[in-house]
């Protein structure tokens, strides 16, 4: 009885949040003079077409990786805002080295992945070291490191240095990675052409999700991280060294973040240019919050996020600014954290009442 009720409560939180977000979106749409019901119907009709769903899945892969990277830090309340800089710097370095290397196919891809992971790891470790050694707030240091990464890339991504002017456009890019450093797409049965294939990196993303769950729940270090997350004092008393763990966690978060740009690099563009996607780090944070740090939850969150963005294309056709979706996303995050907090309070009140009842029974 109580278990069923608490499970119901857990589900209630996301549902309430989504309902609230939809209400806000409807009001916003109504202000701009559109009929919310029509827009919603069109968006769903467009979003649920198979071709759109595949595009959504492809969009969701980097979101998922960014979400895992954020979740790794969340366990220790380390807010890795630096995922953005970490993955862009990692993808840039991987693109430069990948284009310069000549290796057989599996090794070439492995090299590119290794470079990306190492750069993400190292860039995040700076913030980790600053936090552990000098007590510098991770939020602030990673935000500053993002800007430094942006500047470094802008400096190096120049025809004078590590890049070249793309033929026939304003884009400046690194050299293209030879075909041995590409990963194939996975064709979806019943679909044709390039729009009917899922980015091959989805396999790596799934493996990362499994590894994340395994490390967290089946290894000593994962146990330490969870213990520290529950109660720092208890964990410290038990002999877990907080600084070492924080540094490790931060660097691990950066290593995962290093992968975020790779679906694009290995499976689509094969080079790093001015048009390389930016800002996925913040998406990752939101997605991790939505998914409550659980690998499956994050996958759902990433898919929802990508779905919202993709189906927003319908809004343009209807003459409505698609930025409505950004508001929708922010409201979802805000209402979901509030909803989870309320649920937590209700549950803890229920538990206390339950304990009180049991204690009364024992006393009598």
């Amino acid at each position: 009885m109580t278990r069923a009720r608490s499970a119901g409560l857990l589900l209630a939180a996301p549902l309430v949040a989504i309902a609230l977000a939809l209400a806000v979106a409807a009001v916003t749409l109504a202000i701009t003079g559109a009929d919310p019901a029509v827009v919603l119907r069109d968006a769903l009709a467009y979003g649920l077409r198979p071709a759109t769903l595949i595009a959504v899945a492809n969009k969701a892969i980097p979101y998922y990786l960014a979400g895992i990277a954020a979740a790794v830090g969340f366990h220790l309340r380390l807010f890795n805002i630096g995922i953005d800089g970490q993955y862009r710097l990692a993808a840039f370095a991987a693109a430069v080295i990948g284009a310069a290397a000549a290796l057989p196919a599996p090794l070439h891809v492995a090299l590119i992945v290794a470079v990306a992971v190492a750069v993400g790891w190292g860039w995040a470790a700076i913030a980790g070291l600053l936090f552990v050694r000098r007590g510098v707030n991770v939020v602030i240091s990673t935000i500053m490191l993002n800007v430094v990464a942006t500047g470094l890339i802008a400096y190096l991504l120049s025809p004078l240095r590590l890049a070249q002017q793309a033929a026939g456009s304003n884009n400046v890019t690194t050299a293209t990675i030879p075909e041995s450093g590409w990963i194939p797409s996975l064709p979806v049965p019943g679909m044709d052409g390039s729009s009917g294939a899922v980015n091959g990196f989805v396999v790596v993303a799934a493996l990362v999700g499994v590894a994340y769950w395994f490390v967290l729940h089946r290894t000593t270090i994962g146990f330490e991280v969870r213990a520290m997350g529950f109660s720092e004092r208890a964990a410290t008393v038990a002999g877990i060294r907080a600084p070492r763990l924080a540094l490790l966690t931060m660097a691990a978060s950066g290593a995962v973040a290093g992968l975020v740009g790779l679906p694009q690099l290995l499976g689509a563009s094969h080079r790093f240019g001015l048009d390389f996607p930016a800002g996925l780090g913040f998406t990752g944070l939101s997605v991790a919050i939505l998914g409550r740090n659980h690998p499956v939850g994050i996958a759902i969150g990433a898919f929802v996020w990508a779905f919202l963005e993709r189906s927003a294309q319908v809004l343009d056709l209807a003459g409505i600014s698609r930025e409505v979706v950004t508001i929708l996303q922010a409201v979802i995050v805000l209402s979901i954290v509030v909803a989870y907090e309320l649920v937590r309070r209700v549950r803890s009140r229920q538990e206390r009442r339950y304990v009180a009842r049991v204690a009364e029974g024992v006393g009598a």
Partner: protein
């Protein structure tokens, strides 16, 4: 050496003289130009306002990561109202928008007890998203406006100290190495200063006085140190945290208004460029004290203004910095502190070598100068910091979960 000679004033004067001579020697024209000093003030003021905003919130025990979003709200609503009804209306609207976001942070983190970082970050997201949405409705189609920019926005009035021009301008134009630069600094600080800059500077002593000398300030600080104790004396922590967050958001919003009206003349998306976060850093650097926050924002404002200067000038500045590091390294070595000597000697050698071979600092690298400075200052500044004891801890009454 007599004690007064070793004081900070002498050091500043000495550093100024050395840099002035260096800039003359390498013909770097605008290190101490009137325009450069004015730009430093204009770049420092928004960081100062964000820093004071962060100070109010943190003194009451709430980390305000949402400061950036409050600043964004200030830029958009400030620009919109200023474009519609003039600069004064922009001021009111920008501050009000910042306050509204500050109160939203209060509802989330104080009332509902949501993690303060998550609440702040989602507010940043909301501010960025909703301003873009509003731009697409309001600015698109307006003359000079687009989805990322507003039409031109009116400015605030500027004031000049009467007579200063006549007094210092001849010295500035004379071309005597140190004297002319000193005159230019004086002119930069005292001519054509926006009234909003003056207001920002006036807010420093006002903040100090309220927080350190009034009953209200005592209560805000008490809530930030020991909310349980304050609560037991009938001071309701929620109330004071909400109040502090409203002020905090209002100050950040004012910083946003400053960016659109004084530091530029229109709203541009991404205009805040992380200044809210730099403001948070100034509070740590300034040890939760308004005067040190001011000093910090001047340092960051100076490095922020570097991007308006010529690449060679930044190179000369780098040389000066390298020279300072080398000097300290030599002193460490004389005291047989070899680790310190190496730790400072290596960057000193690197910067001097850079200047020798490359001479200029490219604009891409200057673009992150304030952020790198923030990192370095936080990493190397003496860590005798004492944050408010209850900073970041949501307050709940015993038994109220």
């Amino acid at each position: 050496m007599p004690a007064w000679l070793a004081g900070p004033a002498t050091r500043v004067a000495l550093g100024f003289a050395v840099l002035s001579l260096l800039s003359a020697a390498f013909e770097a024209p605008d290190l101490f130009s009137r325009g450069g000093i004015g730009a430093t003030l204009r770049f420092a003021a928004p960081i100062l306002l964000a820093g004071l905003g962060a100070l109010w919130a943190e003194r009451s025990g709430v980390i305000n990561i949402g400061l950036e979003g409050m600043m964004i709200a200030g830029t958009w609503f400030g620009a919109w109202a200023a474009w519609q009804w003039g600069a004064g209306a922009g001021l009111v609207a920008g501050v009000a928008a910042g306050m509204a976001f500050g109160l939203a942070h209060g509802i989330l983190s104080v009332t509902f007890g949501v993690d303060q970082a998550i609440s702040g970050l989602s507010l940043n997201l909301l501010a960025a998203g909703s301003t873009r949405f509003l731009s697409s409705i309001v600015f698109v189609g307006a003359p000079g406006g687009s989805i990322t920019t507003s039409p031109p926005v009116p400015d605030f009035a500027t004031v000049t100290l009467p007579g200063i021009e006549a007094l210092l301008a001849p010295a500035e134009a004379a071309g005597i190495p140190i004297v002319s630069d000193a005159a230019a600094v004086g002119l930069g600080l005292l001519t054509d200063v926006s009234v909003l800059t003056l207001a920002a500077m006036a807010l420093v002593p006002i903040t100090w006085w309220i927080l350190a000398r009034t009953r209200l300030g005592l209560r805000i600080r008490a809530v930030g140190e020991r909310p349980e104790a304050a609560d037991s004396l009938g001071i309701r922590p929620w109330r004071y945290r909400f109040l502090a967050l409203a002020v905090s958001g209002g100050l950040a919003g004012l910083g946003g208004v400053y960016l659109v009206t004084v530091a530029s003349s229109l709203y541009r998306e991404g205009q805040t460029a992380g200044r809210g976060f730099i403001g948070l850093a100034t509070v740590i650097f300034g040890n939760w004290n308004p005067w040190s926050v001011t000093l910090g924002s001047l340092v960051f404002g100076f490095t922020d203004a570097l991007r308006t200067r010529q690449e060679l000038t930044v190179g000369v500045l780098l040389l000066g910095l390298g020279g300072l590091c080398a000097l300290i390294a030599v002193r460490r070595a004389l005291r047989r502190d070899w680790r310190g000597a190496v730790l400072l000697g290596v960057p000193a050698a690197a910067t001097i070598a850079w200047f020798w071979f490359v001479r200029v600092v490219p604009g891409e690298l200057v673009s992150f100068a304030p952020h790198l400075t923030t990192l370095l200052v936080l990493a190397f500044a003496r860590q005798r910091l004492r944050p408010p004891a209850a900073l970041g801890v949501p307050f709940r009454r015993e038994g109220g979960t």
